[in-house]
């Protein structure tokens, strides 16, 4: 089959690789119909996530058709049109039983890397480095999905492929971010990052009762989408003092809930950004914390900061003092989408949510290298390039 493989930092290649096969009784093989780029792939692409190996197939946000199932798969059957949650849950461990699928104990075949880095092994994530299991990704003709009954969801009638593909990651991640923020009726929610996840977090915030959403980014096309599609007040941080603007918009209180949908490659205009960038280039730390610092500083006293932007390692100049002395709650995690998929499909079916506008650049898998370049450089207002393997 054909697949998009990582060959080194900022080096991708489409090549012919072995087809996957059923290896465990609870596996399924899915023929990929649509597979989307994701902002978190850029961290892999840039070499910021260690334990990538040349030849690794990337991609984790996808939908397709089941073509084969293992002997123990009972809920999903051949021919089903399905979407996959890429944060792999086993469904059996105590974390999965609590619906904390992203804390799964059993889905990472390589537990040692994250055991060293984080103190306990993290879950497996499809197409997201060997630290998270080394699973082959979805930018390919076929993909093996472990624990199929837990991680595959049949797409209901009335939900198109272009909507369903984002229920894999962007929509549940955004919804999780808003859910984690503990939004109360009347709250003002500030969301940093107007990519796919950020836009979905804004829509989700309204679904969960927010009165007003403020979107922060620097790309005019994305800020326009935040206003037009997500109903947010858009702020461009290159032309606005974000902290002052957030206080001005909230009567000096600060946003009740702040959501970081940016992560380790945050961009900024202040001196801390250049400090972070220099240390990151010198490999003295792994994260750029501009957004985290801004959100913690801006958040109202007693508020919540919800983090779904990807961070992988160590961050310098973390404002712990503000968290303690403003009594903030900091919540984070990889998305346990299995919790939300059915609810999200219902929102789509009722017309309350339509993520299909995220798909700005459909293309074939053979053009995926160019697709990533376009996505990374934000060319042609590319919000998401989505590949359709032939």
């Amino acid at each position: 089959m054909r697949a998009l493989t990582w060959q080194g930092p900022n080096k991708l290649q489409v090549e012919t690789v072995d087809d996957p096969s059923i290896l465990n009784p609870r596996d399924a093989i899915v023929r990929v119909i649509l597979s989307s780029v994701c902002g978190s792939d850029l961290h892999l692409l840039g070499g910021y996530v260690p334990t990538m190996q040349a030849g690794d197939i990337i991609g984790h946000e996808f939908m397709g058709e089941v073509v084969e199932t293992g002997s123990a798969v009972t809920q999903i059957k051949k021919g089903d049109r399905v979407v996959t949650v890429p944060i792999v849950g086993c469904g059996e461990c105590e974390h999965c039983q609590r619906s904390d699928f992203s804390c799964c104990d059993n889905s990472n075949p390589n537990p040692t890397a994250t055991d060293i880095a984080y103190g306990q092994p993290a879950c497996g994530i499809i197409g997201y480095s060997h630290a998270f299991g080394g699973y082959a990704g979805s930018h390919a003709t076929y993909i093996r999905v472990p624990f199929a009954d837990v991680n595959l969801f049949t797409i209901p009638e009335g939900v198109s492929d272009e909507q369903a593909v984002f229920v894999s990651d962007a929509v549940p991640t955004g919804f999780f971010a808003a859910d984690n923020a503990d939004i109360q009726p009347g709250d003002t929610v500030a969301v940093w990052g107007c990519g796919g996840v950020g836009l979905m977090a804004m829509s989700s915030a309204y679904l969960l009762g927010a009165e007003r959403v403020i979107a922060i980014d620097r790309f005019p096309d994305r800020l326009r989408l935040a206003e037009e599609k997500a109903g947010a007040i858009a702020l461009n941080y290159e032309t606005t003092d974000i902290h002052a603007a957030l206080l001005e918009l909230t009567g000096g209180r600060g946003p009740d809930r702040c959501i970081d949908c940016v992560g380790m490659e945050a961009h900024g205009t202040e001196v801390d950004y250049f400090y972070d960038k220099t240390k990151q280039m010198l490999r003295l730390h792994t994260e750029r914390g501009t957004v985290l610092r801004q959100s913690i500083r801006a958040c109202r006293k007693g508020g919540t900061v919800s983090v779904v932007g990807v961070y992988g390692g160590l961050l310098d100049k973390f404002p712990m003092g503000a968290i303690v002395n403003k009594a903030l709650t900091l919540r984070s995690g990889q998305q346990p989408g299995q919790r939300y998929v059915k609810r999200l499909f219902e929102h789509i079916q009722k017309g309350e949510l339509d993520p299909s506008y995220l798909l700005t650049h459909p293309m074939g898998l053979e053009q995926s290298v160019e697709g990533y370049a376009m996505f990374k450089e934000k060319r042609q207002d590319c919000l998401r390039a989505v590949f359709r393997p032939e």
């Binding site: 290896l23 009784p25 123990a72 086993c90 461990c93 105590e94 390589n110 537990p111 093996r144």
Partner: protein, 279 residues
């Protein structure tokens, strides 16, 4: 009040000038060496003399304070010291890992008490041969196509609570492996604590070598415990392979006189799904 369990993780206390870990002879040697290094460093001067000066200063400080972090790192832990006294060993290096498995204690114990189950989860084990009623020969493939073997004797188990193996008495360096089983709180299954001890020869050098090797053993132990948990909780071992590599060919060999073996586990899968088999 809950009794404080004896922790493998306990360490020798951090030395301070008020609680030194060096004796008078060690401090005198350190002072003499430090003085010589400083004197020689000053005599030589320049870039050659600077490292001697710094080293001499460290040695002198070591003598003055009576504290040495390197000696602390080489000091056997309280658990190891107790273990050595119990076993009458000169030295030992002990590692431990714990895991909680969401299955009843009886099921976890039954699974772990069968060496065939454990061997099938260790990719580096080729065969386990039962050589006697309680003795087993574990054969592993080592580096450079070397075949390694280890004869383990199973001690009298504490049913449902403890499994215990020791390396055969004729082995040069003894090993002692214990698995302790207890009920996890709030119905969360079974806590399994594994303690692996190996006898260390050659004093401090042997201990340092064992400590270095134990870093790899610790990761291997983590992988084995994770595999046991995966097998018991999900019925399979997670893998990131694209296709079945067909390389694992584990065999459990029974003695000719015995047709029985430990009771099978009640995990969700049968033995044929353990990527290995028995003969």
């Amino acid at each position: 009040m809950t009794e404080r369990p004896k922790l493998v993780a306990s360490r020798a206390p951090v030395p301070t000038p008020s609680h030194p870990n060096l004796g008078t002879p060690e401090r005198l040697v350190s002072l003499a060496a430090g003085s010589l290094l400083i004197a020689n460093g000053l005599r030589q001067g320049g870039l050659k003399g600077l490292p001697q000066l710094l080293l001499g200063a460290c040695a002198t400080w070591r003598a003055y304070s009576g504290t040495c972090r390197i000696k602390r790192a080489m000091t056997h832990s309280p658990f190891e010291q107790t273990f050595e006294q119990d076993r009458d060993w000169d030295g030992s290096k002990v590692i431990s890992r714990s895991i909680t498995i969401g299955k009843p204690r009886e099921a976890v114990y039954a699974f772990c008490s069968d060496p065939a189950n454990l061997g099938a989860l260790m990719p580096w084990i080729d065969t386990i041969e039962q050589t006697g009623e309680r003795t087993y020969r574990w054969v592993a493939h080592g580096p450079m196509d070397k075949t390694l073997h280890c004869d383990l004797e199973q001690c009298e188990p504490k049913e449902g609570r403890k499994l215990h193996w020791i390396a055969g008495p004729d082995r040069r360096f003894k090993h002692d492996i214990q698995m302790h089983f207890s009920d996890a709180p709030a119905g969360r299954g079974t806590q399994v604590k594994v303690i692996v001890a190996c006898q260390t020869p050659l004093g401090a050098a042997g201990y340092a070598l064992a400590a270095a090797i134990s870093r790899f053993s610790d990761k291997a132990l983590l992988n084995v415990l994770r595999s046991i948990k995966q097998q018991l909780e999900t019925g399979e071992i997670s893998t990131n392979k694209m296709r079945d590599p067909q390389t694992k060919d584990f065999l459990f060999v029974h003695p000719a006189s015995s047709a029985t073996r430990a009771p099978a586990n009640d995990s969700p899968t049968d033995k044929s799904e353990l990527n290995g088999g028995t003969v």
